[in-house]
Subunit: 292 residues, 2 copies
């Protein structure tokens, strides 16, 4: 069992690293293709930065940040991390399986993309494996179109994104998609604005079906589904010309995105309180935003 | 005593309304003067909007928002509100004097100014009177220069601003300024960035010296000091030409300002949780900000 869990940690973190490489390659390919709206603007490339957690006196894990500031992708981050150690007394009460034993291990990947073209939706994807005395997966993917005319359940981009997330779910359990779609709608919601952050997708946490192999396969399928669908949506819109009004609407919507992440996102507030890597946690914030 | 407190509420809210009018006049005068950097851009004017709290089924008070989106002042808000009712069970534990009796009354003014010119410091000022079974004042003023070369304790703008705040304090008690300056430094601090929001000023809460008359006079002096010093600082810098790099630095600093207000500011988070006026609470957010 101990040997099992170590092998599983290894497999999961190797998958997150592989998915990071694939996502980087997919986004850089689009960045390289350019489009009608970008003129002589040169293509950007991801910058990779490895970081270690803590002050160096103990091995607490670390991560790999990859940031692209380009022409198609005004700001995109694809980060992995594998961290471990002991949870503080405060957090032991909040984390399943940690009250008996403070040791934890967590590995995951998170992606956030803010395209320059207001027609191209922003997107967020994250999957992770957590180990305390229990072991589970969490994650999801959600689409964040920037203009109201795209922020519709019946829009083709929304439909395609949901179809991809549903397919990843349905291969494992037909109950997953309805449950995790609903969770996503509830989670990415700004109560003070009475509005959703985007058009949803799926969100799940504490996912443990009883079969680690099945749950890991589900996690991989969520990542692969995102890798398949999001580049298609970007290519569909990348050459659509935009107006100043479109850009203004995008910057306004990005303000709401920043509000959500700073006021409500548990990943952000948890990360800031537990001494996570500030640079990667806050890399989700939009490159330019307005509160007019 | 009951008659006393009603008269005091009346006096305080009348003062906040008067100060709002004076601040509006002072900022509109500067906006009208223009400056060397604003070309043919027309002067802006404050838009006034009155609002009532709640759904109209009971009188819970309300407020007056005043927003200027202009040439000198890219975004400025000067708001007053006088609200009352009963605190929820959750908040009764957190508010002094409310455990015995949930009724509260609160009146105050808050100002936030985001100038367009990166040389001109942003500023925040707020004073308020709160009544439960206890009665106290809170507030302060702090200066938020946008460029690092101004973010210095020894810079003349910082010195002038602190001199003004110190004078308002010293007229009442020489112990106030050191205590409330320190509180300001501690309050307007971003722990995840290990940096202060601005160059400080004063911050105080639960201020009750035992003499309401003295405390109300102190509150008025803080408002008058701000009204005197901030327009002087604006006029000193308003015609200083700026570069694209200066503007980029300003927008970067505004990103940090937004982080502070959404992650830490108790006024903001308290207001959002207690069904305050979202529009006026979040009007503090900068008109344009970057997270590059």
């Amino acid at each position: 069992m101990t040997r099992d869990i170590e092998a599983r940690k290894q497999q999961a973190s190797a998958w997150f690293a592989e998915l990071q490489n694939r996502l980087i390659a997919a986004l850089e390919a689009i960045e390289g293709e350019g489009g009608d709206c970008y003129g002589a603007w040169p293509a950007g490339a991801f910058e990779i930065k490895d970081w270690r957690r803590g002050d160096g006196s103990a091995d607490l894990g670390g991560g790999r940040m990859a940031m692209l500031r380009g022409r198609i992708f005004e700001k995109a981050g694809v980060h992995t991390s594998t961290v471990y150690g002991e949870l503080s007394a405060e957090f032991r009460k909040q984390v399943p399986g940690a009250e008996e034993d403070p040791r934890f291990w967590a590995s995951g990947i998170s992606l956030i993309v803010h395209p320059r073209n207001p027609h191209v939706p922003a997107a967020h994807m994250n999957t992770r494996m957590i180990v305390t005395t229990k072991c589970w997966f969490g994650g999801g993917g959600d689409l964040n179109p920037m203009m109201d005319r795209y922020r519709l359940a019946a829009h083709e981009d929304t439909l395609d994104f949901h179809t991809a997330m549903r397919s990843a779910c349905d291969r494992h359990d037909p109950a997953y998609y309805p449950r995790y779609k609903k969770w996503c709608d509830e989670y990415f919601y700004l109560p003070h604005r009475s509005e959703h952050r985007g058009v949803g997708g799926i969100f799940y946490d504490r996912h443990d079906s009883g079969s680690w192999d099945a749950d890991f396969a589900f996690t991989r399928d969520v990542g692969r589904a995102f890798l398949d669908v999001y580049p298609r949506l970007v290519r569909r819109r990348v050459s659509a010309p935009w107006t100043e009004e479109d850009r203004a609407e995008q910057l306004f919507r990005r303000g709401r995105y920043a509000e959500y992440n700073l006021l409500y996102d548990r990943g952000t507030t948890f990360g800031l309180k537990t001494g996570g890597n500030i640079e990667s946690i806050l890399s989700s914030l939009p490159p330019l935003a307005t509160w007019p």
